[in-house]
Structure formats: C-alpha cells, structure tokens
Amino acid sequence: MKKLKKEEKNKREQTIRLEDIKSDFITVASHQLRTPISAIRWSLDTLLSGQVGDLLEKQKEIVREAYQNNNFMVKVVGDLLRVSRLEEKGLDLVPRFTDTEKLIEKLIVKHKTFAKASNCLITFAAEPGLPKVYIDPLYLEPVISALIDNAIRYSRKKGKVKIDLKKSRKYLLIRIKDNGIGIPENQKHLIFSKFFRGVNAIKTQTEGLGLNLYLAKKIIEASGGKIRFISQEDKRTIFFIYLPAYKTDLVKLPQEKKERPEDTLKKEREFVSITVHELKEPLGTTKWSLEMLKSQKSGKLNKEQLELINQIYRGNERLLVLVRDLLNLAKLQQGKFEIEPQIIKLEEAIDDVINGFQAKAREKNIKIQWQKNKLKLPQAIADPNRIAQVITNLISNAIKYTPRNGKVSLSLDQKTGENLKRISNTLLAGRINFTDNKKGYLVLAVKDTGIGISPEEQNKLFTRFFRSKKVLNSDSEGTGLGLYITKSIVNLHRGDIWFTSKLSKGSTFYISLPIA
C-alpha cells in the first residue's frame, strides 16, 4: 500500500515536472540563446578593451560590428521573452514607492555610451520636491530605458534628447523629448500595437522588433499610469508618461481566457519564427567577420586574442545550430516538415552516415562497429535525407557521450509488430506506438559505452530542450532539441524511437521503420 502511494507520488511529481518543461518552452529557448550570446558579448568586451593586446583599426572595426550584431541579438531575445511572458502569465506587479529621479539618473548613465556614439546630447531636469511614485521598478525600469533608447536611436545627427520630471496633479509626469524622425501621421494610431515599426524607421534603422511601445503601454497602464505622445514627422516626438504618486489598486489587465494548448503552440511558433528570422542574419555576418579575423588577414593576433576569437566563434556556431534546430522545430509544429518516403535500402543509408563520422570517432579513439545482419534484409519505407539526419543525430550523440577509447556499435534487425509490442512492455520509459505494419519493421540499434541516462531523467529524454545534468558537466554542446526533433521525424515515418540505458555503462537507442 505504502509502495503504491509512493509510486503514485513519483508519477505525479513527474507529470508536474513535465508540465513545467512544456509550458516554459520560451523561457528555456531564451535561456539557451542567451547563454552563448552573453559569453560572446563578454569576450568581445575583453577584445575591445585591449586587455589582451591592442588591435589594428581594421580589426577593431570588425570586432565592433560583431559587437553591434551581438547587441541586437540581446535585444531581440530579451524583447521576445518579455512579450511572451506577459501574454502567457500576465503581469505580476509588486509596486512600491519609488524614487523616479534616481531611477532615471541611473538609466541616463547606462545610455551614455550609446548616446555618445550616436552623437546625441541628453539633458535631464527634475522639479524640486517630487513625490515618489507607486510602481514596480523591476517592470518600469526596462520600459523607461527602452523609451530613452528609442529617443536616442531615432534622433538624428546632433540629436538632442530632453528628459524632465514634474508633478502633474496625482501623477508624476516624465517627458522624453527627441528631435528625431517622428512618427508618420497615418501610422500614429498603430504605434502601441505589437510589432509596430514606423515606415520611416524601417528606412533608417534595421534594429528593433517593434515591441517596446507595446510593452510600455501595457505595463504603464497596469501600473495605474498613462502614456501619451505627440509627434511631427521629421521634427520631434514627445512621450508623456504619467505614473501614480499615490497608492493605487493594481489595474487588472483584461484577463485573457485560460489559454488553450493550441494558443500556447501558436505563441511558441511566433517566438521561434521571429527569433530565427531575426537572428539568422546577424549570426551569418558575425561568422564571416570572425573567420576573417581568425585567418589573420586583417592583422596578426596574439595567442590570447586568438583564443578569445575562437571562443566567440564557437559561441556563434552554437547559436547557428540552435537557430537551425528551432527552425526545424517550428516546421514540425506547423506540420510543414515534409517527408518524401521512398523504398530504400537502409543498410546503405547507414553506411553513408558512418563514413561521415570516422574522422570524428578517430579523434576520440572511439571504434564504430557496424555488425551487418547475415540475413538479407527487406527494404524500408523512408525519406533518405531525413533518415540520414536521424541516424546522424543518434551516432553523433553516441560519440559525444562516450568517453575516449569507447565503442559505438550499430546493428540492424527485422522485427514483427508483435515483437515490438512485447519490447514496448519491457521499457522503463516511453513506448512503441507503431506496430500495425503487416510486413513488420526494421530496427536499427545504436549502442554506446557512454555516461548513460539516470532513471529520473529517462522520462524526460524526448522533451524539448532536455539536457542531461551530466551532460551539462561535460564540454559537449547540444541544444537539447536534437532528440525531440529526431523523435518527431521518426514518428512522421510511422516508426518509433526508444532506448535502454544504464548509468555509467552506456545507452542503446533504437529506431523502427516500416518494411516496404
């Protein structure tokens, strides 16, 4: 009885954890993106600071460009994360009386470098004896920061940004004035909508997703404040932000109905497609710039500089892989991931993939053993390219998680649907769903002598962004999307993927494909 309860509890805990993983897709995706992005930023900082040696002007220029690209990626990921969080969970404002003058002074310091680089002068004035405002500084700070950033960004040469604070009845009024490009008359009604970008802004600036003002309005209004603006194209824009100087009841945003799973998926898709779209270009450009630096054609580098650039390069590559995986994921979710099944000799597909891995295996002194079946096996129904992708992923994982001098062995067998049903019953995690092909299945097994997967982690293996805790310790770089994508592709073939594993002994992954 006691045991039963415990099992039940374990099961429940597992479901909760799984739910957790599912609903937090965007957070995890953002974190995955941010990790290399911040590492790149700091390496670039170190390079530019001259700490590890001076750079030639030509080199500096390349590094600065990479820096700008990086900066842009920071913004994209941050903005998307904030918007999706807001839509998913609403706002959890915790207001307290806050000194706005101090807050703005701090923000101006933060924007000093950018303003200087943009040749823009910021002035700030505050009326004496201002009241504190009742807001959540954690939410308001990024909002005001973004408005100042916009003012600098869209002010033109010799720009002037004027910020002042004054009391306005029960509110504190912040005015942010720039002499920039302004907002076109016919677009004024749109500026607080999601993904708004002024037509004139698109012409002069490539940066920005058009989410800042959308967020600003939502957050300011939820805080009991107001945001207004006046603008004249090619002359100026002034934003008026009214924040409550008294204790307000939190204004409830019209609560969206409990979200349906398809809405969540839709948001995830939106997030993914924008991320992929926006990041691809800067990542591509950065890759070329870094290769240019690495080749030392733009100037010689010392050992430390080279090491940093290699580090940045690896981070960039990691982001590219992540973006590619996200794209696959988005396609899978949209049902746009198409397979073109043909009748193929699976052995040949396996041969090809193994050949591609020999060099990598030799590096770690890992032996790849491919035990061909003595029987003549029938052909399978599969898309040769997609299945190659699947086999590549399995072998690549096997090599990645197997220590030096280990072994990866592959075998191919024929099984009936009944065979598979029986196997399914013995599995600790997951199950085999496709067993109805009358001619049976070919089953590929990829066995490694690697680190193995702990029983607690086995259940989560095919979830998006799963990465073993042990994996986080090793130097291998995965996005945690690989197995999820692999599973989805195999399932599209009406086949299954499963595994058996023992900690520090190794794992075996199996895929089944229907026989033609």
Binding site: R34, W42, D45, T46, Q51, L81
Partner: protein, 126 residues
C-alpha cells in the same frame, strides 16, 4: 597585502576566465566552484569577500545555493551577486528575497561593468 578573494560559482569555465581577466589581478584572486554544493563548501573554507553566483548549475541550482549560504552563520554576511541569463521579474525577485545583494542579467552588462560591481561590493564589505 593579501588579495581580496572572489568566489565565482559558475559552470562555464570560459566565462570565469573572462571575469577573472576583467578584475584587477593585483587586487583580486578568483576562486572557482562549478556546482552549488561546491560553492557553499568553498565559501565556508575560503571566506571570500564577495560571491558571484550563476543560477542554472548542474545539480542544485543557484537559488538553493543562495539560501544555503544565507542559513549558515559563517557565510550569511558575505554579499552575493547573482549573475545569470535568467532575468524575469519573478526570478529577480526570488533572488533578492533570498538575500542576494544584486541581481545582474548577463546580457545586460558589459564585462567591465560586472567587474566594477564586484569590486564595489568587495570594497563596501571592507
């Protein structure tokens, strides 16, 4: 003069190296811990002036580490700066409620700003 010890709890070694590079080597000595428990252990052993703490770590996370540090007499007073890629308001709030001195989102600060914050916290501690 003895160098000021900074304990960095972070599983990405290359980042620690970058942080170390940004701090004045004459003044600071960086101690590395790659896991939460190791972080607590080293905090007790080395008595650093400041602890820099990542949140997503293998095994226990940084929040566990932080509450552990704040529960122990020997480590309670050491200022902890959280340095993480997680930066939603609930995470920031949780970190501050658990007693962190500062919560820095990695992508929001240049490495020199991070170094300044560490140096500043260390100076204040003295």
């Amino acid at each position: 003069m003895a160098k000021t010890k900074i304990l960095v709890v972070e599983d990405d070694k290359s980042l620690v190296k970058i942080i170390e590079g940004a701090l004045d080597p004459e003044k600071f000595k960086v101690i590395l811990a790659m896991e939460a428990d190791e972080g607590v252990k080293k905090a007790r052993l080395e008595k650093p002036a400041v602890i820099v703490l990542d949140i997503l770590l293998p095994g226990k996370n940084g929040f566990d580490c932080l509450s552990n540090l704040k529960q122990q007499k020997e480590t309670r007073e050491i200022p902890v700066i959280i340095l993480s890629n997680l930066g939603q308001s609930e995470e920031i709030r949780k970190g501050l409620e658990l007693g962190a001195t500062d919560y820095l989102v990695k992508t929001d600060f240049s490495i020199n700003e991070v170094a300044e914050k560490i140096a500043w916290a260390a100076a204040k501690r003295k």
